[in-house]
């Protein structure tokens, strides 16, 4: 619902509107002009009020002169880079991988301001056509370099029938007040098996926004893992859509937030046809005065009988000053489904901690073990050993206060 009266626009919105108009994105420019950035009144942004959180928008990015190099190295990965929105030339692709570029945005139009901005500002997208069993992890390294910049970049990935691949997208860059608006569109053909891991390792001054859209064909199996471990403000919006019978998605994510950080994973999974399933599992770990948000919406279409979907969010608070916000939503139009949701929140378990201490394990090490144990469900299913280790390294680094 747009307000009947014009909203008062802030500097961030004025800048944004000018950028959108310059890019010829009149429709979204008009939307921002009328409604402003999403506030808490917009349900999907209820705990992440962009009007309050985004005070300024930096200038649109220029091509970068220097590059810092990937923030997360995974042994054996085939790496592609998008720096300041520009798709970089890549080394020879492994068999079954066709790398290309497409013009414009990649996301399906929907009633969402960030999606509109992404489509309006993205000039070129990295496109991947994947076929067969791809053994190498494909890493897409997004970076924002130099002075504070507003970047919209995107990837569009098609995974052919009966193919399998592990895709890692990493987000990092220079220590500046960047605003990144990243889009990933992944279509899974029949019986395709895809693991898609996205890791935000931006600086504390950076605001990171990502929208991941998935389309699953018959029998397709998707595992997603979103990790927020860097930017001061991070939000990933997931839109998995189960479009073929037998499709299954393990939609998972992890907010790691420390002093002053705000991380939000918002999911809207649509079960569009009968006989599909999804298992959304999210975890948040908070330290200092920080905020972690997980919203999970399951939509079951009218004919989508036999849908099996369970949403779960578990929070672990390592400080008394943090906030963990959890909002499950079910929107079910079919009558023969199994859907559920759950949320838990707590500290490290005292009895578990004492058990480890009583065996001589020092407190800091015992706490680390318990935190690792808490998120093992998310990291363990990542079978690629090098990627698994790299992700574990991020968690360990966060625990040591590196990020």
């Amino acid at each position: 619902m747009r307000p009947a009266f014009p909203v008062r626009l802030g500097i961030a919105e004025e800048t944004l509107i000018a950028q959108l108009k310059a890019a010829g994105a009149d429709q979204i420019a008009e939307r921002v002009t009328v409604a402003g950035l999403p506030t808490r009144r917009v349900e999907a942004y209820h705990y992440t009020d962009l009007k309050t959180l985004l005070r300024t928008i930096p200038p649109l990015a220029q091509p970068a002169n220097e590059a810092t190099g990937t923030a997360l190295r995974v042994a054996g990965a085939y790496t592609l880079s998008i720096v300041n929105g520009v798709v970089q030339n890549a080394a020879t692709a492994p068999e079954g991988v066709i790398v290309g570029k497409t013009h414009g945005g990649v996301l399906t139009h929907r009633d969402d301001t960030l999606v509109g901005i992404s489509n309006g500002l993205t000039k070129e997208a990295l496109s991947l056509d994947l076929k067969g069993a791809i053994g190498q992890v494909i890493q897409i390294d997004h970076r924002i370099e130099g002075e504070a910049a507003h970047v919209a970049d995107a990837t569009k990935i098609f995974v052919a029938d009966d193919s399998s691949v592990v895709i890692l997208e990493t987000f990092s860059g220079s220590d500046a007040a960047h605003v990144g608006n990243h889009a990933s569109y992944i279509a899974l053909g029949k019986n395709a098996v895809v693991t898609h891991v996205t890791v935000d390792l931006g600086s504390r001054s950076t605001s990171h926004f990502a929208t991941n859209e998935y389309h699953l064909g018959d029998g397709a199996q998707l595992r997603t893992l979103v990790v927020h471990a860097g930017s001061g403000l991070a939000r990933t919006h997931l839109f998995p859509r189960m479009e073929g019978a037998g499709a299954h998605a393990d939609v998972t994510g992890l907010n790691l937030v420390a002093e002053g950080q705000h991380s939000d994973i918002t999911m809207e999974t649509t079960h569009a046809v009968p006989h599909t399933s999804s298992q959304p599992l999210f975890k948040s770990i908070t330290r200092g005065r920080s905020k972690a948000v997980v919203q999970g919406k399951l939509i079951v279409a009218r004919d989508a009988q036999k849908t099996d979907a369970k949403f779960m969010h578990q929070g672990l608070m390592l400080s008394d000053d943090a906030e963990i916000l959890s909002k499950p939503e079910l929107e079910i139009y079919a009558d023969d489904v199994v859907c559920g949701h759950g949320s838990t929140c707590g500290k490290l378990d005292d009895d578990s901690l004492f058990y480890l201490l009583s065996r001589g394990i020092p407190k800091a090490e015992a706490e680390t073990m318990l935190v690792r144990g808490f998120i093992a469900e998310l990291i363990d299913p990542i079978e690629d050993e090098a990627l698994n280790e790299a992700l574990q390294g991020i968690v360990d680094g966060w625990l040591l206060g590196d990020h």
Binding site: R359, G360, P362, E365, M369, L370
Partner: protein, 258 residues
């Protein structure tokens, strides 16, 4: 020092008072366990037996209001639980904790190496560690399938207790405190666990066996039996005391301690 070392008891508890919140649970415990001896503490539920085991291991919930605990002549009251473990105390839990996501082997290695490090010893090499686990596991019917699971997760009551004693075998404490190790065990499991415990009686290691029933003491025969009632030891004797208790119950001791 060397002359007196042999005579220093492994554990000496002097007039120990402890409370949780406002409630006093230990009301003046006195206990001396010389090197190599196995002492049993028997008492009815709620008498404070388990509290004593937690207080020895250093659980934070309890406040020591009076008294002293000496391990090999050194006070441990100011020591953290992990330091106490490295100093030689091992508590076999009545209800071992399930910790999802923590692999049993990772845990065992962390515990062994943390204690070695605290004592200024080098880390155990992986082959040595694997060998030690295999040996200890074989004695207690802890197979590799159990070791591959997360710590205690999905273990039956008997498996948990066997795993506890296996940890004890690996960590080689100077004082083992066994808190109701027999609870939840059928007779076969009781025999396996007792055999494991008895294998660790080497004339130097001391043990404090806390139990509600006498039957455990048929398998782990104590040198001394203490009767615990209302937060203190009210009678001590040899192993026959356990048999008398089994026959007559704890009623004789009611009110005696008040």
């Amino acid at each position: 020092m060397t002359d007196t070392a042999a005579k220093t008891p492994v554990l000496e508890i002097r007039n120990l008072h402890a409370r949780i919140e406002e409630r006093e649970i230990l009301k003046g415990v006195n206990l001396v366990i010389p090197q190599g001896e196995v002492h049993a503490i028997m008492g009815r539920n709620g008498s404070g037996k388990s509290t004593l085991s937690y207080v020895l291991a250093g659980k934070e919930d309890y406040e020591i209001t009076e008294g002293e605990i000496l391990l090999n002549g050194e006070s441990i009251l100011e020591m953290e639980p992990a330091e106490r473990a490295a100093a030689g105390i091992f508590l076999a839990f009545q209800y071992p904790i399930e910790i999802p996501g923590v692999a049993t082997m990772t845990f065992l290695k962390a515990a062994i190496n943390a204690q070695r490090k605290a004592r200024g010893e080098g880390e155990l090499s992986t082959p040595d560690f694997m060998r030690a686990v295999k040996e200890a596991g074989a004695q207690l019917n802890v197979d590799s399938a159990m070791l591959k699971r997360p710590l205690n997760v999905g273990f039956s009551g008997g498996e948990k207790k066997r795993a506890e004693i296996m940890q004890m075998a690996l960590l080689k404490p100077s004082l083992a405190v066994l808190d109701e190790t027999d609870s939840g065990l059928d007779i076969d499991a009781l025999q396996v666990v007792s055999k494991g415990v008895n294998a660790l009686r080497d004339g130097k290691r001391s043990m404090l066996v806390i139990t509600h029933y006498q039957r455990l003491l048929n398998h782990i025969v104590p040198d001394v039996v203490h009767v615990f009632s209302d937060g203190r030891i009210v009678e001590s004797g040899d192993k026959d005391l356990a048999l008398q208790l089994e026959a007559k119950g704890y009623a004789d001791y009611d009110g005696q301690a008040a």
